[in-house]
Amino acid sequence: MKPCADVIVIGAGIIGAACAQALAARGLRVLVLDAGLHGATAAGMGHLLVLDDNPAELALSKHSLQRWREIAPALPDSCAYRSNGTLWLAANAEEMAVAEHKYQVLRAQGVACELVGGPALRQREPALREGLEGGLLINQDGILYAPATARWMLQANGIEQRQARVSAIEGNQVRLDDGQWLSAEAVVLANGIQATDLCPELPIEPKKGHLLITDRYPGSVTHTLVELGYVTSAHNASGPSTACNIQPRPTGQLFIGASRQFGTTDPAVEGWMLARMLKRATEYMPGLAQLNGIRAWTGFRAASPDGLPLVGRHPRQDGLWLAVGHEGLGVTTAPATADLLVAQLFGETPPLAAEPYLPERFLGVAACA
């Protein structure tokens, strides 16, 4: 079979787009195939944030934020990039201790941040309720409108896009829905929660999230407001959970998250879950109760068992590369994912250690690599 491109990328979400752009920048001809499904990139919040639940997550998100800052000047307005900072909220002394620990860890890594006491918190964000213990401001976190950013990335020279659903993969060959086979030097799988349709061996599960956006209330909130309970309650629980996450959009709208549910693939907005999530947000910002919500929707995060993505060679399929399992952080970590993938494909030393994200941690070591 004659190769149709140097690399075939499956999936035109933010991960596939970032990989395609990075590959094209190396002079490769890239064919991007996308089935036009409702992906996470279209649904998510696009919060760009440094997370430090473990060193690998910190390394990946920190490198990514640096890369987003480099990319930012080139982004068109429609991508709505802002570096408005994240304000982590501590409701009590215990959470404030978490904030202080986080502060130490991040400072040690050179991440710009500051601890904010209770009274100062309300000076910065007057809409917050009284009596919060304090917070931690991560100055250079940001926000992004991810669907527009993915589209912009895919406009790079050397990228061809095609609407098509891949129904099977064999190494560096893919079969389309219409039965046609395509091949390339390498195939990159970046199709989000649908990854298990094509590679059932991947340990990826959908994690549902609800979101709501309000009408325009310019100036009511400046930073993205996230509760510190998030670290413990939302991330690690197995049952449904919610956490306060309030993001000011450049339009003056407020974007409210976050909820997490396993074991469902039904995209319907569930009233009880939406209500629980909103209640959590109003506990931090009481005035929210009087604002109008105009739209709610859901999305699915592709969760791996350790919360980290799978980036690298498929250990049992020659020519197939993986960039999947980005859970609730894939917009943030798209540039680092692309850097890791490209470096491995070219046999170069990546800008950060690749090991924590290698697929073999779940799939076993390559038989014949």
């Binding site: 669907p147 009233g271 909103l278 109008n292």
Partner: protein, 418 residues
């Protein structure tokens, strides 16, 4: 908080909803009649400082609102489904749940507004939209008005404007002369309609005429028309332009009711495809107020199990369905209207999305993501219909909240977790 309980819940207090309430109230059923306007009456009987309601409307409204079994909730919107047979609703003060045995959807229709160059200039409104503004008190005395688009609503709107002192300088009907004349010739079969709609058949009425552009820089100064093949410009202070009506089927769609040609599909009892849910009036297809009244009465009787009383109205309904068919045939939209917008004409005014940003896409969802079309405050109620007409993209069923709602109201949904 435990939900309010009712036997019959009626959404919409236009002709269909009022007739449904009256019919159902003849039993002992408890009825809640809910409408998002401050006063009952719907579109045709929209009340306000400059409105003059016909006697029939006044007396129907009095009988319904004065009925001991009927509780009227004005200024109230439906926000979400809150479990089986339960809706979450909101008024200016509070949000609460209503649990019903039977639901009758009488949500009416809205105008189809199609984008053309200049349509977002101040001074340009819908045709029915202008009528509603005038009834609500907008002064139009001595102003020059052009009314354009399609259907009898142009004439109704012109009548209201003229009655309030406006000068109508042109009524531009897109349908061809032959079609309109054929329709007019049939009108003696429906005598009320003849009086209501065509008493205005006047010097300024032009068939085969449609708007090309609204002219002016900061505010409307005139309108360019394609008039029976010629291009003419007419100076005016206001342009009211509507291209017929589209059913408000979204609520029914969200509750799972099947659609037929954009309207809620119903059987002879006005029952939808969802058990216990009925639909009447223009949400189940366009046909004017007489059809809405008789459909509402059938739905009201059927919902309380009075099938003979409902069936007795079938002949009358068939008659007004005939009118509806003639109307829809005569005023079918000219395909040329799909080409009015130019590349930079805004299609979505909430999010400032131009025609060119939409035209390359394959479907509504993709276009929406790329352009944010329909994602603003009106949530696609205006541009969704325009886009469906222009590109044939079917909008998906709305998700809760069905209309903007206080977050406090949405918190009421927490009770239904089980």
């Amino acid at each position: 908080m435990s939900p309010e309980q009712t036997d019959v819940l009626i959404i919409g207090a236009g002709p269909a909803g009022l007739a449904a309430a009256l019919a159902a109230a003849s039993s002992t059923a408890r009825i809640v009649l809910l409408d998002d306007n401050p006063l009952a009456g719907g579109q045709i009987w929209r009340d306000g400082p400059q409105a003059e309601l016909p006697e029939q409307a006044r007396s129907l409204r009095e009988r319904v609102l004065g009925h001991p079994n009927v509780r009227h909730c004005p200024g109230t919107r439906v926000i979400a489904s809150a479990g089986p047979n339960t809706l979450l609703v909101e008024d200016a003060e509070r949000g609460w749940q209503i649990r019903y045995d039977k639901l009758i959807l009488c949500t009416g229709a809205r105008e189809l507004l199609l984008p053309f160059p200049g349509w977002t200039l101040p001074g340009v409104t819908g045709a029915g939209g202008l009528q509603a503004l005038i009834k609500a008190g907008l002064p139009v005395r001595d102003q020059a008005l052009v009314i354009a688009g399609s259907g009898p609503l142009l004439l109704a709107s012109a009548a209201t404007a003229r009655h309030n002192g406006a000068r109508i300088v042109r009524i531009a009907e897109q349908a061809a002369r032959g079609a309109v004349a054929g329709f007019a010739a049939q009108l003696p079969r429906w005598p009320h309609k003849l009086l209501q709609s065509f008493s205005l058949f006047d010097r300024q009425y032009r068939t085969g005429t449609h708007v090309l552009a609204a002219l002016g820089s900061d505010r409307l100064e005139g309108v360019r028309l394609s008039q029976q093949g010629n291009i003419v410009e007419v100076a005016c202070d206001r342009l009211a332009c509507g291209f017929g009506l589209i059913p408000n089927s979204q609520l029914g769609q969200a509750l799972g009711c099947a659609l037929e040609q954009q309207a809620l599909a119903v059987d002879g009892w006005q029952a939808t495809s969802v058990a216990g849910v009925y639909a009447a009036g223009e949400c189940s297809g366009f046909g004017g107020s007489e059809l809405a009244l008789v459909e509402g009465a059938i739905a009201g009787h059927a919902a309380v199990g009075e099938h003979p009383a409902a069936q007795a109205l079938w002949t009358r309904r068939a008659r007004w369905q005939g009118f509806a068919r003639a109307l829809n045939r005569a005023f079918a939209l000219n395909p040329a209207l799909k080409a009015l917008a130019t590349a930079d004409t805004l299609v979505c005014r909430c999010e400032d999305v131009a025609y060119a940003e939409l035209s390359g896409h394959v479907g509504w969802r993709e276009a929406k993501l790329a352009s944010r079309c329909g994602m603003g405050a009106c949530q696609g109620r205006v541009c969704g219909a325009a886009v469906q007409h222009l590109f044939g993209w079917q909008p998906s069923a709305p998700r809760p909240p069905f209309s903007p709602a206080r977050i406090e109201t949405l918190l009421c949904l927490e009770d239904i977790s089980s």
